[in-house]
Symmetry: D3
Subunit: 141 residues, 6 copies
């Protein structure tokens, strides 16, 4: 194995460990979804996005997820990524109420359609994790 | 109850009445979809978006829906909102042909993918309301 | 001249007349800006966008401009087009207050950055036309 | 039948032939999806988008599909169009690997969410055509 | 003065105080830019965006700015807002390196053009504040 | 110097050579614009975007530029990048007419505002290179 291939593998392994530290199953799901069609994009997500960028020490994971929630909400057409990153946000220490607060604020900058889409994804993620507390109709006013 | 809470409730109630004047069931659907996860965004949609902005006298509802159809079509990833606002457009006096004409024009400014997405939502709404007239293949030429 | 070329010219001429009915100088400005680099896009704007689509009888010009203001505001990066269409909106019968009301409403669906950008273009257009009335600071509250 | 109607029909027929040369069934699917709700948008897709623009000799179909894959990936919310144009790209001579390479590159300019969405559509199209080759997990590193 | 007007003024005053706590001059600049053309959007930015949403206790200002930087970078065509919010981010406790780290990460989700645009705005803001440290060419490798 | 730093430098150098093969001065301009504020984004553009992705053998540079022109036109707010990539497109073998043809086609998928913005950037680039041929007004019809 050449040095370049060894380095390539090392970057991939490092990135997969970062990805798994954020979300234990995300690495497996990434390979399941994309490994057969584009091993190269799997490699770049792991090696570059997580290994080179996300792993940088300049911003803690909780802060990175806040920025990412903002970007994904603003972009639109990002349901799958929002699901991953709302889960990741909870994993790295944001509370459900902080996630909702971030998404409510997005209405100011991106408008209500984007904010509502993202909150509906949060509803799915919170429900799966048993985090959706019953609230009385009176809370709505 | 404090003055501020009373005022908050009054703004919500006023907004819900505006929302229901546009679409009789929209208030209930909004609470059903979002009331358990984010009563706050339900509040802001009703109190602010409908009560403070939509209810302003400077533009009649029919005109507001034309602007909104343009925005939702351009934004993309707004199927649910397009369904609401194509329905609302019909409720406040736009004809089905005027809605289609607005969406056809959107191809000029946003391109065909956005225009076609929006027209497919119109097809659903018109079909539900029994407004989709049969046309012969000859009409297509 | 072949029939096809004659038809092509006829479509262009018809479109330019529509464009000029909306904005007396828009045809000249279009040719000045793009005629040397891409006569073909000039042709398509005139012949197709105005001659084939805008000229359709299904929606009056005032309604078309409302939809267009919504789209251009939502798209972003459309300063030049907003300038043309805010002017056109005034030309076909929308009042300055109706234009501002449409742009204020866009904050609900696209967020404040897009709405503010569009209102700043309206400020330029209204100022050029002497339509910007002085308002006292007290109006701001 | 007037000259104008005859010309309109001729433009439609010419466009449908172009569309069918790119994708044998696309014309039928277009009419099936949109012919009953908006014969006019069917007409414009065929007559204008394919007959007037796509059929121009200045760029070969293979090149047009590369540009189009870039646009659709960047726009987002274009799953149906990506399906058509990934198929069309294969029909006019791009290899599956070239399509994937174009979509991988899109991560650089549009970010990974858009690139991944497009690659998942490619996975569907390639699978339908029996083009998805099995790769071993080792390829992923 | 009616109760409703008194309440409206109180919401505006509260929002302006929040806005000024984030950026001492932002309130004045907002009125200078928009007060003559649309006192209503000035009101909504202050009363709603800052008074009702930003002032909510559920997320600290530093976190709100991280989300907002993500949204503005993703949206594009937001130079003026990025200038305000990069400044605000520094005001509420983010370091210049954290801001840059957030913007670097945006390349992963929105692509390099959006990330580079935002970093160029950061360069302006940091330069104005004397925060742009000289770095040697060797740092670039 | 550690192996990792040596590898990092090697990836940067390789990327800068690719970037310079596309556009002789682009590397210098990149460092001039961003080297003082964010050496890290300079590194990632060179090492990752050009060295890892663009340099891949699966798609020739001419094809990569077609995809990129499509993406940048669709994204909007990409004037600086369009300037670079329209220049790069010419450098790697696209003719001015092919570039214009690609941008004209973008009107179909992204609408005219995006297409016109991109064509105006092409006008600047072609003018700088002495490629803008005089055309008579008669060409416009």
């Amino acid at each position: 194995m050449s040095d370049t291939m060894r380095e390539r593998d090392a970057r991939f392994e490092r990135g997969m460990r970062v990805l798994e530290s954020v979300d234990g199953e995300a690495g497996d799901r990434l390979i399941a979804a994309l490994g057969d069609i584009s091993p190269d994009i799997v490699h770049e997500v792991a090696a570059w996005a997580y290994g080179d960028v996300y792993a940088r020490p300049g911003l803690v994971p909780r802060d990175r997820q806040l920025v990412t929630l903002g970007m994904l909400t603003a972009l639109g057409d990002t349901t799958a990524e929002l699901r991953v990153h709302i889960g990741a946000a909870l994993n790295v220490g944001l509370t459900p109420d902080e996630v909702l607060e971030a998404l409510l604020q997005s209405a100011v900058y991106c408008g209500f359609p984007r904010a509502i889409n993202a909150i509906l994804v949060a509803k799915e993620v919170f429900t799966e994790r048993g985090l959706l507390l019953p609230r009385t109709a009176a809370d709505t006013g």
